[in-house]
């Protein structure tokens, strides 16, 4: 529209715009206030630490997923890769007899490799990311069962340390904060992060501008694999063992967190802070429903409605803003 003669007048603080742009955050605050009123068990130190621990796994998975979704893809394999990485780490320690720190690093490398394969299949093999990672989901889960023969494996002390405490603070929360800072730094400050937005927004324009689109895609999936591995190790560390069915279905939580956080599944939009809030929304709802003794069956129904509501509101917001 014409800009010179008919410019809009600016107002000091537009609370409507603020609400519209921070819907997930507002929802989270409202949710917390409601739970504080509804149950005295919500606002206790122990419960908040619980929430912190629970959110750490979902959020770390979802940070990796944010990279992929911003770059215009989807990664269905993160839950299975998390399980495989933890299981591999346990195997490195127990069966291969590697030192604990190498077992931990080995687990991360397995996640990274799975991600590289996903990315290569997408960028060079021309498989849609949905299909490539669906295949990886099955392969990784299958390998997890093969390695473990369907039984849990004890983790190295270094991995268990990830599930422990530093003083009063649970380690998963420390890791979560570090992972958020690193992910946010990558997305906001690095060439790689800025390129992800370009690739997700318009891959052809990015390519014609000289961005190495294929390499970027491989790196993006590799990062998702690495973050998945970290989440898997966090989960295993808490239990002191890698479970063959660990993190099953977590990819859907991760996607939901990213989308509630305001990212667009068509790519080019998304933030780590949004994803973090999205993960908190999911975990706080589950926690609150548990405290209120709502059955886990009904919890699923509620979570589904929340996802639909959050994304629906977002779509509506974009529509009104664009017209």
């Amino acid at each position: 529209m014409s800009t010179t003669t008919l410019a809009p007048t600016r107002r000091s603080f537009d609370y409507k715009t603020f609400l519209a742009n921070n819907g997930a955050l507002v929802g989270l605050v409202v949710l917390c206030i409601a739970l504080v009123i509804a149950t005295p068990d919500f606002l206790t130190g122990q419960n908040l630490l619980n929430i912190g621990i629970q959110v750490s796994t979902v959020a770390v998975l979802a940070f990796g997923m944010t990279f992929v979704i911003v770059a215009g893809g989807i990664d269905l394999s993160v839950g299975a890769v998390a399980a495989l990485s933890a299981m591999a780490s346990g195997w490195f320690f127990v069966s291969a007899g590697l030192p604990g720190w190498m077992a931990l690093a080995g687990g991360l490398v397995v996640g990274l490799l799975a991600g590289v394969i996903n990315g290569a299949a997408n960028a060079y093999g021309k498989l849609p990311s949905f299909i490539a990672t669906l295949a990886m989901l099955s392969v990784a889960r299958g390998l997890t069962l093969v390695i473990s023969d369907g039984r849990p494996i004890k983790t190295a002390p270094e991995v268990s340390f990830l599930g422990g405490n530093i003083g009063p603070v649970p380690m998963p929360i420390v890791i979560l904060v570090l992972a958020a800072l690193v992910a946010s730094f990558i997305l906001n400050r690095t060439v790689l992060g800025r390129s992800m937005y370009a690739v997700g927004g318009n891959a052809e324009a990015a390519r014609l501008s000289g961005l190495p689109v294929k390499r970027i895609i491989v790196t993006v999936f590799a990062l998702a694999g690495l973050f998945a591995a970290l989440a898997g190790l966090l989960l295993a560390g808490r239990l002191d063992s890698a479970q063959p069915q660990a993190a099953a279905g977590y990819e859907l939580d991760a996607i939901a967190a990213v989308v509630i956080g305001g990212a667009s599944l068509s790519g080019g939009l998304g933030k780590i802070s949004g994803t973090f809030i999205g993960a908190l929304v999911l975990v706080v709802i589950r926690n609150g429903l548990n405290l209120l003794n709502v059955s886990s069956f009904w919890q699923q129904v509620v979570i589904g409605l929340v996802i639909a509501l959050a994304v629906g509101a977002d779509v509506l917001r974009r529509k009104t803003r664009n017209s």
Partner: protein, 501 residues
């Protein structure tokens, strides 16, 4: 005028939030007439059209259909009044057949199943209305843009449209296809269909229009006959007179340094044995019909596509095949044909879009150079006079001309010295066009070289120092700027073409 208008927008006003985009504009469409809507990008043409089509409702003023005040709360309501819109982005389902597309939403059925025979019959009848002879079973996606457009017109007519809104229908058509469209329009006019026509090609106005409504910045400026001289129309539209539509200033003494050398370049099925050189300070125009292989050639030089044999050399150094990054390092900048699909990341900011080509090269240790990028972007936006609120607004919200300037700006920041331009002013209004031409002048004045592919002959003739003409993937000839005329270029471009059609 004794004939009553089919539809009138009377003193309509439309605001979005605080922004008034249309203020007190009146425009009518009469039966059997072509009403031209003229204005720069962002003047409010599309908002007006959307009011006629029932997408927007006016905030002030009224809409009269057959003289009676009517509200058009939806596109459906507009259709019921016989108003149909042919959008720039066609509303066809590429994978479905011509017949299915024409009858979409009202497929004839028999016992609850689609009656294929009847479907074909009705579709053929609709196509016959505009004399379009194509197999109705062809998937629409396999037709060219021109024919897709005609299919959409046939569809509109088959639902008894009396008012046809044509939003830049000729933007993607060749001269030949445009003529075919105009023939259809002339026929519709005979049959009393009223048309609202939008085009950035001023020469088409006199050819096809009856009356011209000029709007500028959302205001009604004038209603003039379509026979009004072009420079008069431009003056009304832009609000000032544009001295020279093609301000090419070539160097007095052409430099002898060859900047870009293309030798025997061949890509099977696209182009064959192409050789040419471009010197510093020169604009080389490449003319030809759509499908002559011009875009494919440009893309191959830019490294966007691979080629089979031959070589591309920039300042003596041969470029590797299909390597965009190497081409950029050698100084090549590519302004692709499809701005929205290939040039820009529409949801990203103006700042980001200006910086993609230099994102990696300006970075330190993998960290993006934010302050430097913003400084460079602001400087270039100022230099190119990109009109925007802030450099952080999504580039989607800029007008076509300003978007295109941003694609140029990306390569200016990258200090590119060889610009490959593919339809550089497509969908760009007159004012911004001249600014883009001035930009080309400043690039060549600084010793840069430009290769420009364009389907607009006046642009090729007005801005090139030398002209290559391509036909069926081969070089059909080379003309100096002095020798080239529309006729000489078209003779080279179109020889034998009539036989193929």
């Amino acid at each position: 005028m004794t004939v009553k208008p089919l539809i009138t927008l009377q003193n309509v006003t439309k605001t979005f939030g605080q922004v008034t985009v249309i203020q007190d504009v009146t425009v009518s469409v009469y039966p059997g007439q072509v009403q031209v809507l003229l204005g720069e990008n962002g003047a409010g043409k599309s908002t007006l059209i959307k009011m006629v089509a029932g997408v927007y409702q006016p905030d002030g003023g009224q809409i009269l259909v057959d003289g009676a005040v009517t509200s058009l709360p939806s596109t459906r309501a507009a259709e019921e009044h016989g108003i149909a819109t042919i959008h720039q982005e066609l509303n066809l389902v590429a994978t479905m057949s011509v017949a299915e597309n024409v009858m979409l939403g009202r497929m004839p059925t028999k016992l609850g199943m689609v009656d294929r025979k009847e479907l074909r019959r009705q579709a053929r009848a609709a196509l016959a209305l505009i004399g379009l002879e194509i197999d109705v079973d062809t998937p629409v996606g396999q037709l060219g843009i021109a024919r897709q457009q005609l299919v959409e017109i046939a569809k509109a007519l088959s639902i008894n449209a009396r008012v046809l809104i044509l939003d830049e229908p000729t933007a993607a058509l060749t001269r030949h296809e445009t003529q075919a469209l105009f023939a259809v329009m002339a026929d519709l006019r005979q049959r009393g269909v009223g048309m609202l026509f939008i085009s950035h090609h001023l020469d088409e106005i006199a050819e096809v229009g009856d009356t011209v409504t000029v709007i500028r910045d959302g205001h009604f400026i004038a209603e003039v006959p379509a026979s009004t001289p072009e420079d008069e129309l431009v003056k009304l539209m832009v609000g000032r007179s544009i001295e020279d539509q093609f301000p090419r200033r070539a160097d007095e003494t052409p430099a002898l340094t060859e900047v870009l050398t293309v030798t025997n370049l061949t890509s099977a099925g696209h182009f064959d044995d192409i050789s040419f050189t471009v010197r510093a300070g020169e604009v080389l125009g490449i003319a030809g019909l759509v499908g002559a292989g011009r875009t494919e050639l440009i893309r191959a030089i830019a490294g966007a596509d691979k080629y089979d044999t031959g070589s591309v050399t920039v300042r003596g150094a041969q470029l590797p095949k299909g390597d965009i990054q190497a081409a950029i390092r050698a100084g090549i900048g590519h302004v692709p044909e499809d701005r929205k699909g290939q040039g820009l990341v529409l949801d990203a900011s103006v700042n980001d879009n200006l910086g993609y080509a230099t994102l990696a090269s300006s970075a330190k240790l993998g960290l993006a150079d934010f302050t430097g990028q913003r400084r460079r972007a602001e400087a270039v936006a100022e230099k190119l006079r990109i009109r925007m609120h802030t450099i952080d607004q999504p580039i989607r919200s800029l007008s076509g001309g300003n978007q295109q300037k941003a694609v140029f700006g990306r390569w200016i920041i990258a200090a590119s010295t060889v610009l490959l331009l593919d339809e550089p002013t497509r969908g760009v209004d007159v004012g911004a066009k001249v600014e883009i031409y001035e930009l080309m002048n400043s690039i060549t004045a600084a010793g840069g070289a430009i290769v420009m592919v364009s389907s607009e002959l006046p642009e090729i003739l007005g801005m090139s120092d030398r002209i290559l003409v391509m036909r069926d993937g081969r070089l059909a000839g080379e003309l100096s700027a002095a020798d080239a005329t529309q006729d000489t270029v078209m003779t080279l471009a179109a020889r034998d073409v009539a036989a193929q059609r």
